[in-house]
């Protein structure tokens, strides 16, 4: 039965990769995802898997080679962080519009300026409109589980889109924690063999990929791609259900923690959500109705579903571990804010930027946010709703 282990997030994802034994992995090292190609190279060097690893000369080539490999019919993955993802940016769009189910293990780290190696979501958020499915993990367990589910979602015939499985740099990728792993056979059966319908190396049918398309075709192609992203929502839920039957671990588009009767809700992504849960438990002991909505799936964006889950809240803090320099808050704030409006939610909303470049987020920080929410619920948002937490001022 389930295997109790302790490992870091990077080890956990590498373990999932080992169990899946994909066909091809091009990668270029970048902190904090470097361990992933290292682990895979070691597995190969010791005959534990027979994936073909391509030690490319850059991340641009990493994604380009992934596109070539996936188009050729190989189950393909890569891993990167931060500037590496930014360097892939152009070709991320190509992978998605080519409808190639590549998996990318993203270890979130801030984009440079200034140079820093710590956790931030500016890398994946920068690629949020590239057509990739994005799933985020709170901890090593979720990073592992998400990767096990990734190909099932990406390769589904109604989807056929690349998928980014994200975890927080260092906080998740390098921290050793307890984890429950699945047996190799279970994972292998769950993920299954990859049988693409069309591919370059199909002896019975040629394929041409990546055309120039005039305006009269391009918009239709993008509409079809948008449909695939819409379809992904149900597929993610179906795959999660099947995963739950196998593992006992339940996943949705997002997680609600003590949200049902919550007056004050925090909406956040990633590792800080665990810290928020501790804060919520403390506050609940004091009678404060605090809750959390943890976003797991950012693309496709479950706006309506989240707005409905937040329908009874009096005040909501939407937390972005990312600046978008819109002078109006981060991307989650913008998108969820729009969804709340469309759903006619009446809550007061704070758009909070936190945790940039690895700035720590403590239980006490969350307690203060809930205090602020209680205040704005009564008195309304007096100052700007766009705020920073954890910055010296």
């Amino acid at each position: 039965m389930a295997i109790k282990e302790r490992m870091s997030g990077n080890e956990a994802v590498a373990y999932a990769i080992k169990q899946i034994n994909p066909d091809v992995m091009p990668a270029f090292p970048i902190t904090p995802s470097t361990e992933l190609p290292q682990f895979v190279s070691n597995y190969i060097a010791n005959g534990e898997i027979d994936t073909e690893f391509i030690p490319v000369e850059s991340e641009h080539s990493s994604m380009s080679a992934a596109i070539g490999a996936s188009a050729a019919g190989a189950r393909t993955l890569t891993a990167t962080s931060s500037c590496g993802l930014a360097y892939m940016w152009e070709v991320l769009y190509v992978a998605a519009s080519d409808r190639l189910p590549i998996a990318l293990a993203l270890v979130n780290r801030g984009l440079t300026g200034p140079l820093n190696i710590n956790c931030e979501h500016s890398d994946s958020m920068g690629a949020r409109d590239s057509g990739w499915i994005q799933i985020y993990a709170e901890n090593n367990q979720e990073a592992y589980d998400n990767f096990v589910m990734a190909y099932r979602i990406a390769e589904h015939k109604d989807v056929m889109l690349p998928i980014m499985a994200c975890m927080d740099g260092f906080i998740t990728s390098h921290a050793v924690e307890n984890i429950t792993l699945l047996e190799d056979d279970l994972v292998k059966n769950f993920v299954g063999e990859y049988h693409p319908e069309h591919y370059l190396l199909n002896k019975d049918e040629v394929m041409a990929l990546g055309p120039y398309a005039v305006s009269n075709y391009c918009m239709e192609a993008k509409r079809a791609q948008a449909q695939a992203m819409m379809n992904a929502k149900q597929v993610i839920l179906d795959v999660a259900k099947e995963f739950e039957e196998m593992s006992g671990r339940k996943y949705g588009l997002f997680e609600e923690y003590r949200l049902e009767d919550a007056d004050y809700a925090v909406v956040a992504i990633g590792s800080a959500c665990g810290t928020a849960k501790d804060a919520i438990d403390r506050l609940r002991e004091k009678g404060v109705k605090a809750g959390l909505l943890k976003v797991r799936v950012f693309r496709p964006f479950p706006g309506k579903e989240m707005a409905e889950a937040l329908a009874n809240c009096k005040a909501i803090a939407i937390m972005d571990r990312c600046e978008s320099y819109s002078a109006n808050g981060g991307p989650l704030s913008a998108e969820l804010g729009a969804a709340l409006f469309k759903n006619k939610n009446q809550a007061e909303v704070l758009n909070i930027v936190y945790g940039l470049s690895g700035r720590d987020m403590t239980v006490e920080d969350f307690e203060k946010i809930y205090e602020d929410l209680a205040d704005v619920a009564v008195n309304g948002v007096k100052e700007d709703s766009y705020r920073y937490v954890g910055v010296r001022e």
């Binding site: 390098h174 050793v176 665990g274 810290t275």
Partner: protein, 190 residues
């Protein structure tokens, strides 16, 4: 053991403070605990001061922040006492372990008036005697296990033996040296 133990390690890049934190997480995991072991990362290189952390609990650990009010602190390199505020936030119900050849009396004045328990160990001497080389990890690990009471000493020794036997299957002399260092540390920490 308390419900949740939080530990902060101070060392220098390359000395193995991070490894010690991960080893402690390992042994605690092996006896069924929920654990966290993580370093604070930056571009620090060999010799620069680094920090690493442990959380050990019987319950699931969800918090993902650094540790600001540790129960215990381990200082792998005593020269850090002059530059790093190693007792910052340290609980006075807990304690601090310092790797030094100095006596407790010599060390206490360097601890900014810390009122909790102070432990010392000469990990260099133990390591050099047992292994012929300076690897402070093993003695520091054993000493921390004893101080924090994460598990009893016998259990610790048997767990470590099992895991090192696996790791050094082909190097029995290394296994023996490590075990010697662990036992010596349990005895000598004061």
């Amino acid at each position: 053991m308390r419900d949740l133990i939080e530990i902060r390690w101070h060392g220098r890049g390359g000395q193995g403070a991070k490894t010690a934190a991960l080893l402690l997480a390992d042994v605690a995991f092996n006896i069924g605990k929920n654990v966290q072991g993580f370093p604070e990362y930056g571009p620090e290189r060999m010799g620069a001061p680094i920090t690493a952390y442990n959380r050990i609990s019987d319950n699931a650990i969800r918090v993902h922040s650094n540790i600001y009010d540790p129960d215990f602190v381990a200082v792998v390199d005593e020269t850090l006492l002059h530059t790093v505020d190693v007792t910052k936030g340290l609980s006075e119900d807990g304690g601090i372990l310092i790797n030094t050849e100095k006596s407790k009396e010599e060390i206490i004045p360097l601890l900014n008036g810390y009122k909790g328990k102070v432990y010392t160990i000469d990990a260099r001497k133990i390591s050099e005697e047992a292994l012929g080389k300076y690897f402070p990890n093993m003695p520091m690990l054993a000493a921390m296990v004893k101080i924090t009471e994460v598990m009893d000493e016998e259990r610790f020794i048997s767990e470590m033996k099992a895991s090192l036997e696996h790791k050094f299957a082909k190097k029995p002399e290394v296994l023996e040296g490590n075990m010697k260092a662990l036992k010596a540390a349990l005895e000598q920490v004061q």
